[in-house]
């Protein structure tokens, strides 16, 4: 990172005007942009406007937010929903997991009423999902109702990592047993991540 200005919370950065807008790590009060983080000042031009941001050098204090792509591990499956632990938000690994939940109707986009939870997820699976809402006091509500979302990593009964063979099936490379899953059409960025993890 280039040598840049260090800011601390409460520091006045600039006047909010037509030419600029404020991004992460800042807040606006009385027409001025202030820093809300201890970190480095970053400016970049987006849509002809100068985006003022403050970035922390440390891993960020991310909590799952609506619309974020998260990586989670299934812990519990029952006919109506399954529970999971959110391990990552985007690329950032969380220090401590958050509880999440996928309801039966949020598993896939079509033929929602034919969904059998146990044929979509099993405990131990690693999934990629999107945060639908903040849910109740207990857990976030997630969805996998997109092609790119679903199971990315699953272990067969024989104990081997399975390979996807269709959007709803995975196969164990040793026993050649097929198991049903809601498989994600994995994008490159997530594969890289999964490799790091195992």
């Amino acid at each position: 990172m280039a040598k840049s200005v260090v800011c601390i919370p409460g520091q006045k950065l600039c006047r909010l005007s037509e030419e600029n807008c404020n991004g992460n790590g800042t807040y606006v009060r009385n027409g001025y942009v202030y820093s809300s983080l201890a970190g480095y000042l970053c400016t970049q031009t987006v849509n002809d406007k100068v985006l003022v941001e403050v970035r922390s050098a440390k891993d960020q204090n991310i909590v799952p937010s609506v619309g974020a792509i998260v990586t989670a591990k299934i812990t519990n499956v029952n006919p109506r929903f399954c529970k999971c632990l959110i391990q990552n938000v985007g690329q950032t690994q969380l220090r401590e997991p958050f509880r999440g939940m996928i309801r039966k109707e949020d598993v896939r986009a079509t033929e929602k009423d034919k969904v059998e939870m146990y044929n979509c997820f099993r405990p131990g699976d690693i999934i990629v999902a999107k945060v639908l809402s903040l849910g109740d006091a207990h857990s976030y509500i997630l969805t996998t109702a997109e092609n790119e979302l679903g199971v990315v990593l699953a272990t067969s009964d024989a104990g081997y990592t399975m390979v996807p063979i269709s959007w709803c099936e995975m196969q164990c490379p040793h026993s050649l047993m097929k198991e049903q899953r809601k498989v994600a059409k994995v994008q490159q960025q997530y594969i890289e991540y999964a490799d790091n993890k195992t």
């Binding site: 601390i8 520091q11 807040y27 009060r29 809300s36 922390s56 204090n61 909590v63 509880r99 903040l134």
Partner: protein, 267 residues
């Protein structure tokens, strides 16, 4: 620290030898030349040492030293709220203020006593207005402040220290919270009182005898903590609050500098 109720805490009736002193040593507030015992002028703070990032496991931490008053502070989170609470779009901040058992002249108990509970609430209420709680819905941030050695003005030190630790942890905040305390005794105003200068209720009868601690957000110009004890006239107290604010503004650049330096060191 979790409270262990099964812990055996020595005999209940043990007493400190100081209470058996024939005549408790009564030191006057000021020496014969109306100077403070440690040689400071009346409106002079003790030299302050502050460093952020002293506990590697914590998300953020800070250590402050005002001569013999030493406070260490750690910040954890944001993490999931484990206790069952009602749904809230706001995050939660928790604070624990603890005197180490050996930090004061009299030994303190492991379990938080009323004073510590009160100070915990005051620390929380001082920091809460500064933290952007809406940035981490459903999650909590825990702040633990431990006084290692108490030589007066421990709450003020803890507030400053905790706000630096929060900022260092990368928790979004509207502003830093700085704190100052002072002692009023008649016409005398002593800034940043040490243990023997602090207000103790059994002292001689006079008006305007008390102490005051103010938590202040310099950039927002807001008071986030205010606490006084003892008996004072209103205008004296008003003046004292202004003095505390002035002092917070005076320290602000120093704290700012310290935080910037520790941020740079991280690279």
């Amino acid at each position: 620290m979790p409270i262990d109720t099964r812990r055996i805490t020595g005999p209940e009736t043990s007493q400190t030898p100081y209470s058996f002193c024939k005549e408790p040593e009564k030191k006057a507030l000021l020496d014969e030349n109306q100077e403070r015992w440690d040689g400071r002028s009346h409106d002079q703070m003790r030299p302050t040492f502050l460093r952020a990032g002293v506990i590697s496991q914590a998300k953020g931490s800070a250590y402050i030293e005002l001569n013999k008053t030493k406070v260490i502070c750690a910040v954890y989170g944001p993490r999931e709220i484990t206790r069952r609470e009602e749904f809230s779009m706001k995050g939660q901040l928790t604070c624990e203020f603890k005197f180490a058992t050996f930090s004061c002249q009299l030994r303190r108990q492991h379990q938080p006593d009323n004073q510590e509970k009160d100070l915990s609430i005051q620390l929380l209420e001082a920091l809460e207005p500064a933290v952007c709680l809406h940035k981490f819905p459903k999650a909590q941030v825990n702040v633990y402040a431990t006084v290692l050695e108490n030589d007066g003005s421990a709450l003020a030190a803890a507030i400053t220290c905790a706000s630096v630790a929060l900022a260092y942890a990368g928790i979004e905040m509207y502003d830093l919270v700085l704190s100052a305390s002072l002692r009023l005794a008649g016409d005398i105003v002593l800034l940043d009182p040490s243990e023997n200068e602090e207000f103790k209720p059994q002292m001689d009868l006079q008006v305007n005898n008390g102490s005051l601690t103010v938590g202040y957000m310099p950039s927002l110009n807001q008071i986030s903590a205010l606490t006084s004890s003892g008996e004072c006239q209103l205008d004296v107290l008003t003046k004292a609050i202004k003095l505390c604010i002035e002092n917070c503004q005076k320290v602000y650049p120093v704290i700012q500098h310290c935080l910037m330096k520790s941020k740079n060191l991280e690279e």
